[in-house]
């Protein structure tokens, strides 16, 4: 079976025991993203502390890939400056475009930590959107949170 290349143990662990799940207050921005081809959904909140991502909280329903991805993302971005979190998102995007190329995964290992386990997903075009949904939601929510907090600070 080729399945193990997609469903790495780390992914299944995140799926079964998601990190940071649940919607929490306070928050600076909340977004709701859907994957219209399959109906997967995520509601995601971002709380900033200055320029740092203080918390990301979320609720959603979807496949193992989408649910594990948001959990791995939570581990990666909380406590990081927003710019760094978004850069990590760009790295994840690069990984998803790698069509399973192990060299790309190897290069991004430090930046992506657990999330590098999603490399196998990039071989399955239909599932890339599942893995990316939460990162898209984060990008959206961060932009809104920044504009809210900056406007509030003026």
């Amino acid at each position: 079976m080729q399945l193990e290349s997609m469903y790495q143990e780390i992914i299944l662990d995140h799926y079964k025991n998601p990190h940071g799940r649940g919607l929490r207050d306070p928050f600076d921005a909340e977004v709701h993203h859907v994957n219209p081809t399959c109906g997967d959904e995520v509601t995601l909140r971002v709380k900033l502390d200055g320029d740092t991502v203080a918390d990301v909280s979320y609720e959603g329903m979807g496949c193992s890939i989408s649910q594990a991805s948001v959990s791995a993302m939570y581990d990666l971005v909380v406590g990081k400056p927003v710019t760094e979190a978004l850069e990590t998102g760009e790295h994840f995007m690069t990984l998803m475009q790698a069509k399973g190329d192990p060299a790309v995964a190897e290069k991004l290992e430090d930046e992506l930590e657990d999330a590098v386990a999603f490399a196998g997903v990039s071989k399955y075009p239909a599932r890339i959107k599942c893995a990316l949904m939460s990162w898209m939601a984060l990008k959206d929510a961060s932009a809104r949170a920044l504009s809210t907090t900056q406007a509030g600070g003026q």
């Binding site: 080729q2 399945l3 997609m6 109906g39 997967d40 496949c63 193992s64 599932r127």
Partner: protein, 436 residues
């Protein structure tokens, strides 16, 4: 159409009416392998069907021997192309019991429905009084059902938004049937059109069209039947159906992509203004304004998808040779068998009617603890192609409280071995995700 389904014991392996091995030999794609050498188990005909060699040959024959734009030009190729195109129209008409002048070729079911929806709003502003008969406007109502594919929902939502008409709908029962208890109030004197699917693409339910048509007739409403999932799978006679429009897609009935059909009762088609306009649908063109051809040409602007139409003609010939009554029986036997096999697997829930009464070969299900995408992924790894997601019928999955389903659909080349592979695959998914 009435369903004469007897109630075979589900799970029983009765002899199949169609010779699956002989039919498979006609489908070149079924001899390829997928995912590292596995036999392709194609259970996604409800999304698009595979094509037999006869259909592919017909398209190739057209391009290699006849290719020209039909209904224009006086050369021999143009004559022959027109002949091939119109011959296919006659074949498709005969397939559904309709005269050829009631058969309009469209791109697909979706375009056929949009054609009617736009004709109804165009009717309101048509300068020709004879085109205003079926105009939809403020105070009018359009009725759909909660079971519709998005293709038979969004065009009506949009029609209502354009015209100020109101969209109403019939709901669903817990066992996957239309709830017709309020049919008499939902379809009323204000109703201009009822749009309903004959067979649900997700639940497999076959709807009692005759009952809906009877109510629509009482109030003078038009009826459009979405036959995308029924015309490929059961004998259809539009006279018996009693509706005003029947729409379906070629690609779901062994034909090419890019061709669909709008059948309409001639007097209704004749009273509708065009949707798409341009070449070949006109009678006289002046700079000040133009007049239009009678149906079906009025609704076929531009050079049509001629080779695809010819391919669709070959597809209906192929199906006719098999016998649509046999196709229907074949799928009913497979559906009964599949429902029985799935019922044996703990944690599997079928979304839709639990037996084969008034039910076609679309079997949607959920697997406890395994998301439909993940079920589909495991099946794919085993060479089994199914559809996962909301199947372009989001209100249906919402109605049954699931985010998505996995769906297997059957056709003429499907055998018991395919259903066995599906059942084994579901168990493999449960094992992989540790739910058993």
């Amino acid at each position: 159409m009435t369903s004469t389904a007897s109630r075979p014991a589900t799970g029983a392996r009765t002899p199949l009416p169609l010779d699956v091995e002989a039919i498979r030999a006609d489908f070149p794609i079924l001899s390829r392998t997928v995912r590292d050498g596995k036999r392709l188990v194609y259970l996604d005909s409800g999304a698009t069907s595979q094509k037999p060699r006869q259909v592919l040959d017909a398209e190739r024959w057209f391009y290699e021997n006849v290719n020209a734009a039909p209904h224009r030009g006086a050369h021999q190729l143009a004559e022959e192309a027109t002949g091939a195109y119109e011959e296919a129209r006659a074949k498709v008409g005969a397939f559904i019991g309709a005269p050829e002048n009631e058969v309009v070729f469209t791109r697909n079911t979706t375009e056929a429905i949009n054609l009617v929806a736009y004709a109804l709003s165009n009717a309101a502003t048509a300068k020709e009084p004879e085109f205003r008969t079926h105009a939809v406007g403020q105070g009018d109502e359009i009725v759909v059902t909660e079971m519709e594919h998005h293709a038979n929902l969004i065009p009506w939502q949009q029609l209502c938004e354009r015209t100020g008409a109101t969209l109403r709908w019939l709901g669903l029962t817990d066992d996957g049937r239309l709830d017709l208890s309020d049919l008499a109030t939902v379809v009323n004197e204000r109703t201009r059109l009822v749009a309903v699917t004959q067979q649900s693409n997700i639940l497999g339910t076959i709807n009692p069209i005759e009952q809906i048509v009877a109510r629509a007739r009482e109030v003078g409403a038009l009826v459009l039947v979405d036959g995308a999932q029924s015309v490929p799978h059961q004998p259809i006679d539009v006279a018996a159906l009693g509706a005003d429009f029947l729409v379906f897609s070629g690609h779901k009935m062994l034909g090419p992509t890019g061709v669909g059909v709008l059948w309409g009762r001639y007097e209704v088609l004749d009273a509708l203004p065009p949707f798409l306009t341009g070449g070949s649908m006109i009678e006289v063109v002046r700079m000040e304004g133009s007049t239009f051809m009678p149906p079906p040409q009025r609704f076929e602007a531009g050079v049509p998808m001629t080779a695809q139409v010819v391919g669709l003609g070959a597809a209906v010939e192929y199906l006719t040779a098999l016998g649509m009554d046999k196709v229907e029986e074949h799928e009913r036997a497979l559906t009964g068998y599949a429902l029985g096999k799935l019922a044996e697997i703990p944690g599997v829930t079928v979304i839709g009617p639990p037996d084969t009464v008034a039910r076609g070969g679309a079997v949607s299900f959920t697997v406890e603890g395994v998301h439909p995408h993940d079920v589909g992924q495991v099946l794919d790894d085993l060479g089994i192609a199914v559809r996962v997601g909301h199947h372009c019928a989001w209100p249906v999955v919402r109605r049954y409280g699931v985010p998505a389903t996995t769906r297997a659909t059957f056709y003429v080349h499907t055998g018991y071995d395919d259903v066995d592979a599906l059942a084994d695959g579901i168990r493999a998914a449960q094992k992989f995700f540790g739910t058993v």
